[in-house]
């Protein structure tokens, strides 16, 4: 399986990149771990690939002003092992270590993972749970997009044509903030049956704030709003976590496929949500 023909351009600056992307049929190539498989199976074709891997300085991780700023070309492997990420926003490393396999993580980038907006990708729910802000740049300048507005649909983000993801900003982990990323796989298969990113602000026994985001159970990654609202401001209990799971499972829209029936996916999602709330609560300092 080989890609269809395309023109190739590897700009040296982000300005050159956005210029090239104004071409009607151009597509950004980052680490290629999602895009190239798509091209190889000929599920997609583009007139021009703009390879941004040669633009210097897009793979940074910086911690400043209570935020972590991540360049789109930071590899998944680097986020898995980066000391600052592990310390200041460990949810990202926890999720990174569960993406595909070590070889794919060596090449795959966070920018690619979020921009591809595959409903089964792992970074979109993480970004949602962390309330990430995405900086997009185009010929007409820069704009900031909230994570909740970024993931529009299957394989579709809020990035306009000619726009490119320049930076991802996530707040650093606050005191009392617990997190967890849990992913259910089917045997040796590479996508998930369901996955849950959970961030809780815990004070004493109370869950003050909850952000629970889901992958693989809808046409895009999304926040389980009703489940979050159900537990916010309440005292933690296992049954509360279970109720949240039930709510999230009811609202989700999974499809039956070779990974399982719709019914199983809902059931698994409910259990995952419950388990991830418990894990995040404990990590946030809560006591059972």
């Amino acid at each position: 399986m080989y890609p269809p023909e395309f023109e190739y351009f590897a700009p040296n600056s982000i300005e050159e990149a956005v210029e090239a992307l104004s071409n009607e049929d151009a597509k950004v190539l980052a680490g290629g771990q999602s895009l190239l498989p798509l091209l190889k199976s000929r599920f997609a074709a583009f007139g021009k690939l703009v390879d941004i891997s040669r633009i210097a300085g897009l793979d940074y991780v910086k911690v400043e002003d209570e935020a972590i700023r991540i360049g789109p070309m930071a590899t998944i492997a680097s986020l898995e092992s980066n000391g600052d990420v592990q310390r200041f926003q460990p949810l990202i490393s926890e999720a990174a270590s569960q993406i595909a396999d070590p070889l794919v993580r060596n090449m795959g980038t966070i920018g690619g993972n979020v921009s591809h907006s595959d409903p089964a990708n792992d970074m979109p729910p993480v970004m949602l749970a962390l309330n990430a802000k995405f900086t997009a740049i185009s010929k007409s300048g820069e704009r900031s997009i909230d994570a909740e507005k970024f993931f529009v649909d299957s394989f579709q983000t809020a990035l306009d044509h000619g726009e490119i993801l320049k930076e991802i900003e996530v707040p650093v982990r606050r005191a009392g903030q617990g997190y967890s990323y849990m992913k259910l796989k089917k045997g040796s298969a590479d996508f998930s049956v369901a996955a849950v990113a959970c961030v809780l602000d815990v004070s004493g026994k109370t869950i003050k704030r909850a952000r629970i985001a889901l992958a693989s159970v809808s046409s895009k990654a999304e926040i389980a709003n009703d489940a979050c609202r159900h537990i916010e401001g309440k005292e933690f209990s296992e049954s509360l976590a279970e109720e949240a799971g039930t709510i999230a499972a009811k609202n989700a829209d999974p499809q039956s496929d070779s990974y399982g029936s719709e019914e199983y996916k809902r059931r698994a999602l409910g259990m995952l949500v419950k388990d991830s709330i418990i894990k995040a609560y404990i990590r946030g300092g809560g006591s059972i």
Partner: protein, 167 residues
């Protein structure tokens, strides 16, 4: 489609070729450079038979454009033996029966080469986790895990010998 020029260092040698921009790195090393030790097994970035090192990191060369590798350093399975002597990892795979049909072996060895290059001591469970992007259908993996463990020992003692020699 307009051809492009790529230049890279492969196994220590500079190479330059005019290629179709869509050419995958795996095709480039196999067809252009005739380094056929890099194999293609699955087409979907799962099996890892095409694993090689790109700027020091193990990657699946069926999912990298040769164009993107331009200007970088590539090491393939052909590049790890020295003066006709097998690399300790290769010796370990032979001795510990880390292969049967041999098709996945170049990828297994290149992942191990990257992994053991980190110099970290690894448990069998960790080795298995690191090999999760490399499929083998013959061995059930046990011989491969044995081989990687043994290769780590061989490399350790080789290092120790070198140290003693330099003293």
């Amino acid at each position: 489609m307009k051809k492009i020029t790529v230049k890279m260092e492969v196994n220590g040698k500079e190479v330059e070729r005019e290629i179709d921009p869509r050419m995958l790195l795996a095709t480039f090393v196999r067809d252009e450079l005739k380094l056929t030790g890099t194999h293609i097994g699955c087409d979907t970035t799962n099996c890892g038979a095409c694993t090689l090192l790109l700027d020091g990191k193990a990657v699946k060369s069926c999912t990298v454009l040769a164009a993107s590798a331009s200007g970088k350093k590539v090491i393939t399975i052909e590049g790890i033996s020295k003066d006709g002597t097998m690399h300790p990892i290769q010796k370990a795979f032979v001795e510990k029966h880390g292969l049967q049909c041999g098709f996945c072996t170049p990828g297994m060895i290149m992942t191990s080469y990257w992994l053991l290059g980190k110099g970290k001591k690894l448990s069998r469970e960790e080795i298995r986790k690191y090999l999760s992007g490399n499929l083998c259908r013959c061995t059930g993996y046990q011989g491969i895990v044995d081989s990687v463990e043994y290769a780590a020992e061989l490399m350790e003692s080789e290092k120790a010998r070198e140290k003693a020699r330099n003293r």
